[in-house]
């Protein structure tokens, strides 16, 4: 198992290298490049020449890339062109906020999605199933940013229960404040993910119900609750986890948009700010960090397999 994890981590390297090179090359290809941002619009020829010299921008692209890579490997992603703070420090300040939001959203998604899936799978094509299926189609189809706006209108503007813009409050410092601040963003992102969970878990559960072992269990007189909760659930989780792994990209996209709706200070908003100010080192750092997170999540999903189904061996 440890060997498998190590091998998977090593396999991530070429993809990361390729992606980092692609991002680097794209930024290099920008007309004017980072130099226009560094020196400002009204810079003289001498100032431009001096900046090119100072940042080594006159060297071949491949040389610049390996220079950047060498420093990145030691944790030096360069300085932000605007705040002049280290990129890694800026990302480090925002990362806990994003992780807290992601965790809260997953809890909401499980709490909403799993019961819906079970309730509709127990009696397929009943009126309850139809209502719940329509609900999950809505949860999937309604754009996250519009849902966020509707929730703000209801809970912040009309009822005045919750704030319309969210701050990051670490959960262990003040659980009550953290929950107040997280409630709407987590509900927004969680509802979308619960739509995914409900749709695919339902399909997976219905598929398993026709299996032989279910008939055997029924014939033996195993209580229905135990059949659904223990026998079917465990087998249905396997195809379902695969889908969830594939949908993780949507989850990350949803998180970026959700942070924007609630002006939540996470990585997604940092990236958007970096793009709008053309802060290239910061763009590069944010995209790489999100990509690494995405790949680690996928690895985590694969490891979940072993826990759900001991028959799977990792080589």
């Amino acid at each position: 198992m440890t060997g498998y994890i190590l091998r998977r981590l090593v396999q991530m390297l070429p993809v990361l290298l390729l992606a980092s090179f692609a991002i680097f090359a794209m930024i290099y290809a920008v007309p004017g490049g980072p130099i226009a941002v560094i020196v400002g619009e009204n810079a003289s020829q001498e100032e431009i020449a001096a900046a090119i010299q100072r940042y080594g921008l006159d060297r071949p692209m491949v040389v610049q890339y390996f220079d950047w890579l060498g420093r990145a490997l030691t944790g030096d992603f360069g300085l932000s062109l605007h705040s002049h703070q280290p990129v890694l420090q800026l990302i480090g300040e925002r990362l806990p906020a994003t992780l807290q939001l992601a965790l809260a959203a997953i809890i909401v998604a499980l709490a909403l999605g799993v019961p819906v899936a079970i309730a509709s799978a127990v009696k397929p094509n009943s009126w309850l199933d139809r209502v719940l299926s329509a609900w999950s189609a809505l949860a999937l189809g309604v754009p996250t940013f519009w849902l966020g706006i509707l929730l703000i209108l209801l809970f912040a503007v009309e009822l005045r229960w919750l704030p319309s813009a969210s701050r990051h409050v670490p959960f262990w410092e003040s659980p009550a404040d953290a929950l107040r601040s997280l409630a709407l963003p987590a509900l927004t992102l969680g509802t979308y993910v619960s739509g995914i969970l409900a749709r695919f878990l339902r399909a997976s559960l219905i598929g398993e119900q026709r299996a032989d072992y279910v008939r055997t269990a029924r014939a033996k007189g195993v209580p229905e609750k135990r059949i659904v909760g223990l026998h079917i659930m465990r087998n249905a989780l396997l195809p379902f986890v695969t889908i969830v792994g594939l949908m993780m990209a949507n989850f990350i996209g949803g998180a970026v948009v959700t942070e924007a709706v609630f002006t939540y200070p996470g990585i997604g908003r940092l990236l958007i700010q970096a793009i709008s100010t053309r802060d290239y080192p910061l763009i590069q750092g944010c995209i790489l960090i999100i990509l690494i997170a995405y790949m680690l999540i996928n690895l985590g999903v694969d490891l979940l397999y072993a826990w759900i189904d001991p028959r799977i061996e990792y080589r």
Partner: protein
């Protein structure tokens, strides 16, 4: 897919209530976008004295922070959305389909190389990829269109590849090969016309994804630049006026959501119809018709 077959498909689509409603809604949106110029609507005329008004007989959807008619901006925003979606689907199909055809037809090193590239594209969350591309190209309608289109390439490539692999050993393809048809002729003139249905479904599914992605980019402030009306941009600005004019963000969002849901509903209905046809065909060749 010939004309009569398309008409038959349309009839079966209309027999489904959800799909028929979706089709009607999309027809209204498309006609409004097409004939926007003929309607007494001006998306750019400002009137600060009449800013942030609620819906009224004069302005059905109310007015925005500059006193512009929101309904007019929604109608012209439909143009932005539909043009982006159409352009993105065309880009994705023009690149994705040939890639998938070549990869599936040869199945050798060409397959490995092409599909690894597709995998890398698939590994990136598409909104992230689109944002990176826009960071490089700068903010414009063209950049948004290309970014959304490139994100759609893997879908077409995978479906085209699967279709070729299923068809290339069939008798009619072997016959063309026997008569001396070259690889390009077989791929584009023999196999492609027989693989159109799933590709058409993919185009519709991608249209709904493209509209969502374009709106999301505009909402994040990196999509089509103002003053071009765009649904995502309207939600972005409307969000700042939730207390003064709640309908500003709600109504454009409703039109956007219904458009996305409509494309999605039609895509799923078509998939169901085609799946059913295939099952029927298998039953017929097996000797026992199902109907």
């Amino acid at each position: 897919m010939g004309f009569s077959e398309a008409r038959r498909l349309l009839r079966r689509l209309l027999a489904r209530r959800g799909a028929a409603l979706s089709l009607a809604f999309l027809a209204v949106v498309a006609l409004a976008a097409l004939f926007a110029g003929l309607m007494p609507l001006d998306p750019l005329r400002q009137n600060i004295a009449e800013s942030l008004k609620p819906p009224s007989p004069e302005a059905w959807f109310g007015t925005d922070e500059l006193g512009r008619d929101i309904l007019a901006r929604v109608v012209y925003g439909a143009r932005t959305s539909l043009v982006t979606a159409f352009g993105a689907v065309v880009i994705a199909a023009l690149i994705g389909v040939p890639v998938g055809l070549v990869a599936g037809f040869y199945g050798d090193w060409r397959d490995s190389i092409l599909m690894r590239c597709i995998d890398v594209l698939l590994a990136l969350p598409n909104i992230l990829f689109a944002m990176a591309l826009i960071a490089v190209l700068g903010r414009s309608q063209g950049a948004a269109l290309v970014a959304v289109g490139v994100a759609g390439i893997p879908g077409f490539a995978r479906i085209a590849r699967a279709q070729v692999m299923a068809l290339r050993q069939l008798d009619f393809v072997m016959a063309v090969r026997g008569f001396g048809g070259g690889p390009a002729y077989i791929m584009f003139r023999t196999i492609l016309p027989n693989a159109l249905s799933p590709l058409v479904v993919q185009a519709i599914v991608l249209a709904s994804i493209a509209i969502l992605l374009e709106a999301a980019l505009a909402f994040l402030g990196v999509g089509v630049p103002p003053p071009t009306p765009s649904w995502g941009e309207m939600l972005r600005t409307g969000k700042s006026y939730l207390y003064e004019a709640p309908s500003y963000a709600v109504l454009p969002g409703l039109v956007l959501t219904l458009t996305i849901l409509s494309f999605d509903t039609i895509g799923r209905a078509l998939t169901a119809i085609i799946d059913r046809d295939e099952t029927d065909a298998i039953h017929e060749t097996a000797g026992g018709g199902r109907r």
